[in-house]
């Protein structure tokens, strides 16, 4: 990532805030209480290995109403925050958080493949897809993740200095992936 002091004011504030908060909140506002362990378990299986400083379950909770730029919905589908609630309630009803990892994964696999809609009595694929995308938005908006994946974050106002194949290779010298070049 570029040095913080070279970034525009707004970009710098965003980076600092996300680093500081990691999306953590005192308590979940929407999916707290009995739903919380199931939300946390599901997010942890969908997007594993996230540093403890980033709370993706909290991000999903606070961004439940965020459109993420999409407004389409199938006929009869509830509004997305409601769909997320119904899905988490269905998981809670099956004690999802207490299931062994392989059983959690098996249910997620069925949901993702569209094979669990009947079993859970709701559009389970739509539920898990929308939740996964929300969790990923939080994951991929965090500066620690940018470093992890080699994305350089905000460019304003200086821009990037490397564009060609050679310059790109030179930038990646010393990165973990460089050994593969």
């Amino acid at each position: 990532m570029k040095k913080l002091e070279t970034l525009g004011e707004k970009e710098r504030a965003i980076v600092e805030e996300r680093r500081r908060s990691g999306y953590r909140v005192e308590r979940l506002s929407r999916f707290g209480g009995e739903l919380e362990p199931h939300l946390r378990a599901l997010v942890a299986r969908l997007v594993p290995g996230v540093p403890a400083t980033i709370d993706l379950a909290a991000f999903v909770d606070t961004h439940a109403e965020h459109s993420l730029g999409r407004g389409d919905r199938a006929p009869g589908l509830p509004a997305i925050p409601e769909l997320l609630r119904e899905g988490l309630e269905a998981l809670a009803g099956r004690g999802f958080a207490m299931l062994p990892d392989d059983q959690q994964d098996a249910l997620i696999r069925r949901m993702r493949r569209g094979e669990a809609d009947e079993e859970l009595g709701l559009p389970a694929k739509e539920f898990v897809d929308r939740l996964l995308v929300k969790a990923l938005a939080g994951y991929l908006a965090h500066p620690s993740t940018w470093k992890q994946i080699g994305f350089n974050g905000p460019a304003y106002p200086e821009g990037y200095a490397w564009i060609s194949v050679g310059a790109t290779a030179r930038r990646h010298e010393g990165f973990p992936g460089a050994s593969r070049l």
């Binding site: 525009g8 970009e11 459109s67 389409d72 080699g150 990037y160 564009i163 790109t168």
Partner: protein, 526 residues
């Protein structure tokens, strides 16, 4: 000798300060300030008409309001209101195809500025599918050239295809993704050249040349990208047009077969703007929605809302051993159009184009998990960890018009009580054959370029049709000049008038059509 204008372009605050205000009856009320509306506003006000533009979105300042951050800009620039989608292949709507702001979708578009080709204007005559346009390429060519100068467009000095080359500005540089993927295109014998972009590569009107922020789709902060909010709106204001942001049109009012003006909501307040002429420029979902919500206006043909088209767009992702950092330049790089037109060796009509592409991390992950159900958990993390090593080849396939693909009104209503659009879409057999060919060839290219792993995502781009242009009032909504067959002082001018969709990004063509529409009107009026 003209002096280069070195002062920075006016900020939105200054534009608001110098803008003329109109009261009472005006010559032209334009609904929607996107690719078409902003162009009409400039051309009509420069032609001496009093013009008011109603824009549902905000008037954002590129320096103050755009942020180099994907998450912050998701939803901020998009028409993300509820739309009910169904059919065999429901369309995702929002960031991928519709914008909401002064500048419309050109605020977040990739700035691709490719012309349609002569064959696009007569697919019924030469390919036996779809319908012909009511005019040909030569009719539109001078307007294309004019728009290319105004935006301005950067691109190659010479092109293998019908185009605007040599372009006003020199082409964007080839990035690492272009150099690597071009090897694959070369290997398959496909011609490669840089895509023309509505992105300045030199100074223009005080706007900066491209700074390679890469964040084109989150709003260009250097004003190099010629969204209509920076290329056309300041000129419209200088000529006396008034832009009213945060104004949502609810109904075109009419009496005795003539439009009388537009009812709209400004921050919840109901208002009415009387006008001699009304222009609907809200793109292929909101335009038919507004007409249908205006007492089925301009619809004696029953064609309003019909023949909705998209561009099919599988994206093929290749993982390369070397990092490509595809995010450092505008997302679209080099392209080939060798696969564009009908080819007797293929078992379908028409075709597609291909270009190198980049999705920023959130978009990248969303697209991949949306199309690959087994991609989640550790396998997904493995792909994301190598984000900088993935190169993308995007395809854009022609989708033929089908009257059953359409926009109607849903039972659901928006916060203002206005029925929302229901968008019904299914691919036809020819469309599916093109998609298969797009995916297959793109995979071959990426493999030939040396990718060690390949993934694919499906999706659509752009929205076209729904208010077809034609000469026969029984089978089209507007005439060749975009004027309604039914309502003589009503124009529809945006992507919805396209009789067929071609297979390139439509904004340049929309802007050329809008320029032509304004000129024909002014010629007739004087």
């Amino acid at each position: 000798m003209t002096l280069l204008r070195k002062v920075p372009p006016p900020r939105v605050e200054q534009l608001r300060g110098m803008m003329r205000r109109h009261e009472g009856q005006i010559d032209a009320c334009i609904v929607g300030c996107g690719a078409a509306g902003a162009v009409l506003a400039k051309e009509l006000s420069e032609g001496g008409l009093s013009v008011v533009v109603l824009e549902a979105g905000e008037w954002l300042d590129s320096r103050e309001d755009f942020v180099n951050d994907e998450l912050s800009m998701l939803g901020t620039l998009d028409w993300d209101d509820l739309r009910i989608v169904d059919g065999d292949d429901p369309i995702k709507t929002g960031r991928v195809n519709t914008g909401r702001a002064v500048g419309g979708t050109t605020v977040h578009f990739t700035a691709v500025a490719v012309r349609l080709r002569p064959d696009d204007f007569r697919v019924a005559s030469t390919d036996g599918v779809g319908v012909d346009w009511p005019f040909d390429y030569d009719e539109l060519a001078p307007y294309y050239a004019e728009v290319e100068r105004t935006l301005p467009v950067s691109g190659p000095r010479r092109s293998a295809y019908p185009s605007g080359a040599p372009y006003p500005h020199g082409e964007l540089p080839w990035s690492a993704k272009d150099e690597v993927l071009a090897r694959g295109l070369d290997a398959l014998g496909l011609h490669v050249e840089m895509t023309p972009h509505a992105i300045a590569t030199g100074n223009v009107d005080g706007r900066s040349a491209c700074m390679y922020y890469g964040f084109c789709m989150d709003g260009c902060k250097s004003d190099a990208k010629g969204g209509t909010h920076v290329s056309y709106v300041p000129k419209a204001i200088a000529a006396g047009a008034e832009i009213r942001p945060n104004c949502f049109a609810t109904r075109i009012e009419s009496e005795g077969g003539r439009a009388t003006g537009v009812s709209y909501l400004e921050n919840g307040e109901e208002r009415f703007q009387p006008a001699e002429r009304v222009f609907v420029c809200c793109y292929a979902i909101e335009t038919p929605r507004l007409l249908l919500n205006s007492g089925n206006l301009a619809n004696s043909s029953d064609q309003v809302g019909r023949n909705l088209m998209v561009h099919s767009g599988p994206i093929v992702y290749g993982r390369f051993d070397r990092a490509l950092d595809s995010f450092v330049t505008p997302p679209v790089g080099v392209m080939t159009m060798d696969t564009y037109a009908s080819d007797a060796k293929r078992d379908f009509a028409r075709g597609f184009w291909m270009n190198t592409y980049c999705q920023f991390p959130i978009n990248f992950a969303q697209a991949l998990v949306g199309s690959n159900p087994d991609l989640w958990g550790p396998e997904l993390i493995e792909v994301l960890d190598e984000y900088a090593h993935w190169g993308m080849l995007a395809t854009l396939g022609e989708v033929l018009p089908n009257p059953d693909n359409r926009v109607t009104l849903a039972d659901e209503r928006d916060d203002n009580g206005v029925p929302v659009a229901r968008v019904t879409f299914s691919y036809g057999d020819n469309d599916r054959a093109i998609i298969e060919a797009e995916r297959t060839l793109a995979e071959q290219v990426v493999e030939a370029a040396g990718a060690t792993r390949i993934l694919t995502s499906d999706g659509t781009h752009h929205l076209l049709g729904t208010c077809r242009m034609g000469t026969d009032s029984a089978t089209s909504v507007v005439g060749p000049d975009c004027r309604s067959h039914d309502v003589e002082n009503l124009w529809i001018c945006d992507g919805s008038v396209f009789p067929t969709g071609g297979a390139v990004n439509p904004s340049l063509t929309i802007e050329a059509i809008a320029t032509r529409t304004a000129r024909l009107l002014l010629e007739r009026a004087t």
